[in-house]
Symmetry: C2
Subunit: 328 residues, 2 copies
């Protein structure tokens, strides 16, 4: 059976071998942030049955908890530094949970250069969901973090990675009716849903070129609409420009209605970056160099703060809802 | 019915009018911490049915979430600066929740000089408990934060405030059998349980004099034992020296067995401070000046890292368990 003290001592303490954490033997962490730098802080929590399946592997839960926060930092042009972990474990959780969960954390420490500063653990009633909240710190290395509010008319809208894989993958994971695109493609989509892959490495190009940026977590169109509202600009994007994986393309070719889900579904954890038009070529080149290609999908305008998406047929698309909300 | 967007926009945004928070319209907060200072970070979460009663008033839940973290910072000699808020609200929570909760936060902003930097909100399934996690930042103004590990043989063990009120108050709140000490005393104890009062104001004296310190949240004897283990010292305390409120004294006079609960019960949220003997008078005087008297209850020694508590009868006390664990 899961034991809180054992989890902290045996599983988490080895991950926290940094000066400020005092090896998790203290109530508070003392962090010497790099002198003179603004610190970017993001906090995201994930809850079983809401943000991930109830029977998800502990290592994948740990990775997701870290990566949704890494995604926020990268989109703000910040290099991840470390994090605090809060975890609510339902009473009666099995023995192996702690080791699996810590293994998931540890792998991403290496991948993203993370440190565990400290945290808090609680055992909650058996009926309560597993919940993991991460507060992650990053640095823009003395440069300014792009906000949601900086976009100007004429700026170019870029997105990283492929869009829609996770939303389609959730359909696959749920066993919803889905086009028969072959086991390889289906597995690819489901894996994209279960393990976010934020574009870690883009942060340098983002802080160098971005006028505004945010991560795409609640659907491309809805998140762009929120950025437009905060910046006071309109945006016009073309569905045909939105980068799709081979699997998502196969699904949308088979059922073109899925394109709406691609544009509005959640959990992409890619970056949306607004760049002045005269920097768009150098931004795209810097991103390519970092190993994460980005794609221009549209432009900002001086219209009302709304998003117009032009569909494959050249007509404006309409959406029943543009924003994905996780619901229990 | 509780609405997440409305809660953020209408209730939380007015509390977050600081530069880095961008009025909660962004995914991440940018915090310019005071230059050249180590930042103390603490994170504590509280869960309905585990750390507070299921039917607790939202304003008291908010205050508790902040104060358990203020308690950690004060014990580390740190002035609270601001915090990130994570809150999981069960679907179907009533309309008034958001306003009441925000009112509780707001009152403590004034009391403790706090700012809301940002956070995350999730609506969780109806069966899930309300959960509130706070990550709070503080500054020791360039001085060193006392750790759990600094105590030396010969040092004096001080505690702030009164001990045991909350543990006795939990009995009262639960309707457990309790001595008849009068309605005024019973109300006092229950209020102490429901609203922690950390010794905000002591942090200056603590960073000036403390060799080691921690807050008392899981029981005086158990927390002191953890400090002894981390510092590699023994400690000997006298029950008769432990500061009691009039209500706790009345309860223990009526049923002396309650003294064990006073020494091992949780939720005190007072500071335990280890001070070199030659600074103990000036420490006590500085605390008195700050309006929070402290009391010397024992000393550290060079024995095995254990706590010996001498009872009212002059004999060592034995405890079935020395440490309070919140359980759902």
């Amino acid at each position: 059976m899961f034991d809180e003290d054992d989890f902290i001592r045996r599983c988490l303490r080895p991950l926290a071998a940094v000066p400020g954490s005092a090896g998790l033997t203290d109530d508070a962490a003392v962090i010497d942030f790099p002198a003179g730098e603004s610190i970017v802080v993001t906090t995201d929590m994930i809850v079983s049955g809401v943000h991930f399946p109830r029977d998800e592997k502990p290592a994948l839960v740990a990775a997701r908890a870290l990566r949704v926060n890494v995604s926020d930092l990268v989109a703000k042009g910040a290099d991840p530094l470390g994090y605090l972990l809060q975890i609510s474990v339902p009473a009666g959780t099995g023995d192996g949970f702690g080791d699996d969960f810590a293994a998931g954390l540890s792998a991403d420490h290496t991948r993203y250069g993370l440190k565990l500063y400290g945290g808090d653990t609680a055992v909650v009633p058996e009926v309560a969901p597993l919940g993991v909240a991460v507060t992650m710190f990053g640095s823009t290395r003395g440069e300014r973090a792009p906000r949601r509010s900086g976009a100007c008319p004429g700026d170019v809208v870029f997105v990283s990675g492929d869009i829609g894989d996770a939303a389609l993958g959730l359909m696959v994971a749920r066993g919803d009716p889905f086009p028969d695109i072959g086991a390889g493609h289906l597995d690819y989509l489901e894996a994209a849903y279960r393990l976010p892959r934020p574009p870690f490495g883009l942060q340098g190009a983002i802080r160098k070129h971005a006028r505004a940026a945010m991560d795409i977590s609640d659907g491309l169109v809805g998140d762009l609409a929120r950025l437009c509202q905060t910046s006071g600009v309109s945006a016009r994007i073309r569905a045909e420009k939105v980068p799709l994986s081979a699997a998502a393309k196969a699904a949308c070719d088979s059922d073109p209605r899925l394109m709406k889900l691609v544009l509005t579904g959640g959990d992409d954890y890619q970056s949306m970056v607004i760049v002045p038009v005269d920097q768009s070529i150098s931004f795209a080149r810097d991103c390519m160099t970092s190993g994460f290609p980005v794609k221009a999908i549209g432009t900002c305008g001086d219209g009302p703060p709304e998003v117009v998406a032009i569909g494959m047929d050249g007509q404006p698309m309409s959406f029943a809802r543009t924003r994905y909300t996780h619901r229990g």
